[in-house]
Amino acid sequence: MAEQTNTVAEPNTPEHTGRDFSLRAIIHNAGIGLALLGLILFFSIFTEHFLNPNNITNILTQITINLILAVGMTFVILIGGIDLSVGSVMAFAAVIAGKAITLPGFGTTEIILLACILAVTAGFACGLLNGLITSYWALPSFIITLGMLNIARGAALHVSDAQTIYSFPFAFEEFGSAQFYGVPVVFLVALALVLLAWFVLNRTVFGRLLYGIGNNEEAVRLAGHPVFWYKVAAFTICGLTAGIAAIVYMARLNIASPIAGIGFELNAIAAVIIGGTSLSGGRGSVIGTLLGAFIIGVLANGLILIGLSDFMRQMITGVVIIVAVILDYYRARYAKK
């Protein structure tokens, strides 16, 4: 503290503090990383197959959808909002795209493209609506997106008549199970989204202002920025990722089910928060979200491998979630020192 707050007598060179700053950032993310490492170590020792390359491929596949949703969720949580509708919106987008993709009389490529565009558009529209309503009337996003959760789910069931839509073009399925040196292509897509989000949040003015809005919306408004549209954009991005998640869901499961994604919102939010992003907005990082999604995925995978009963597994998942944030607390305190 002394160095930071002294008067001119002892100025810190920018180099010095700069190093210090990024080191702290590393420790920050490393903290959650360490929890993850601990989990990985634990499962490597206590289960046979955990480090098996196939299992790693499995884990990567399994976290993909949650990760994609969590990336969008990070934007919304950073501005101090929340989006409970992502699971339902994903189902809605999937059903719309599924309806399209099973239409006869189109070429494979066109129809896949059309389906993807529809899915993304559906997600986009729902997110836009969430954003417009929330921002225009300055209403709590919790309740608005809870409304959207019901609307999108009802719409998905209505459009599909509660039937699972299936029989997609082979090329589409291929994409869902394709691997690149053992890494699922869909995971690479998710990873690309993470990097893109990181870039947007840290290297663009838009991103920095999103942080700013989460911090002090009024100040950003007084600085002359169109806060309204920035908030709408954050929700729209979240809806968009739900649309992308729908595509991955369809490619991976080869169906479009109107009851897909129930409860996915809680998993996505958990990934974001375990990743150290503050629910009150303004603080956090999408890299943390990546690690958070990994913690949840590794935990789910490892606890099955270890052969615990389902109920024990559920309880332990709860305990680990809590322990992870407690550990993160100590990590943060340590990093401050």
Partner: protein, 283 residues
């Protein structure tokens, strides 16, 4: 050599039907003693992904057989195909994989299990016989989009057609007691002339029976499905006209037996190996 490993994949173990099934399978493992059982369920009924994950995990673990009650008849076809390609014996029980989807994927897989639609029709018929043509009935459905919910609804509707019943309303209560209680109370208000209720599982049937008790209506007959222990007293005293037993306890165990036979070099299973269903009625 090592004992063969059987991976058992079920639906939500929070559902007592599957929980009982698991108990049966565990007893069976001990009784037979010549194989190792690894069982997984899912967090909730709609969590298809975790079943796919489970199949993938079992492929990774190199189990000898996968015995699965698919959460979605269409979503599971492809991952199971992959399991078969990896040389794993796959047995499908409880809910049949979608025939169309199987054909598309070029999968040939037998089904071991009850006839949900037929079972529902048994229960529906019991109600139809009681009420006769023109009887006014209501259906309480399971989770929309779930295969067994769909099958059971179709079964009920078959009865409605056959007995020329008058279907007043058909609504979901998502398999839940409390929701069934609420939904049916409201239906009863809208249709006080209801004479019979067909309920897609017993948990919901309990809620319906309670709603009738609260409303003081003793003139309405209810049929359920599953024969869980909690409805036994209701069957006895006639609050529940009938329910359907699928003998779930044995279903997984029997399927495991069949899988092990194939693993041991027996012939491939084919078609639909029907398991018994039975209408359970009071006196």
């Amino acid at each position: 050599a090592d004992k063969p490993v059987v991976g058992l994949i079920m639906k939500s173990l929070a559902n007592e039907f599957f929980q009982n099934m698991l108990e049966g399978a565990k007893e069976h493992e001990i009784k037979r003693g010549d194989y190792e059982l690894r069982a997984v369920g899912m967090q909730n009924e709609t969590d298809f992904e975790s079943q796919i994950n489970a199949v993938e995990n079992f492929i990774t673990q190199g189990v000898d057989a996968i015995v699965i009650a698919p959460a979605d008849s269409r979503a599971m076809v492809r991952p199971l195909k992959r399991a078969m390609e990896a040389g794993i014996v796959v047995v499908n029980f409880d809910v049949a994989l979608d025939a169309e989807a199987k054909k598309q994927q070029g999968v040939e897989l037998a089904f071991v299990g009850p006839d949900n639609r037929g079972g529902a029709k048994l229960a529906g018929d019991a109600l139809g016989q009681l009420l006769g043509a023109g009887g006014k009935v209501v259906i309480i459905e399971g989770n929309p989009g779930a295969d067994n919910a769909n099958e059971r609804r179709l079964g009920f509707e078959d009865s409605v057609k056959e007995y020329k019943l008058d279907l007043l309303d058909s609504r979901t209560a998502h398999w839940e007691t409390e929701e069934a209680n609420t939904v049916f109370s409201n239906i009863l208000t809208a249709h006080p002339d209801t004479q019979g209720v067909m309920v897609a599982n017993d948990s919901m049937a309990i809620g319906v029976v309670k709603a009738l008790e609260s409303a003081g209506r003793k003139d309405i007959a209810v049929v359920g499905f599953d024969n869980i222990p909690a409805v036994t007293p209701m069957i006895k005293d006639g609050r529940l006209l009938a329910t359907v037993d699928q003998f779930g306890q044995d279903m997984a165990a029997n399927s495991i037996d069949m899988a092990l036979e194939v693993v041991a070099g027996g012939p491939k299973l084919e078609g639909w190996v029907k398991t018994p269903i039975e209408l359970v009625k009071g006196k």
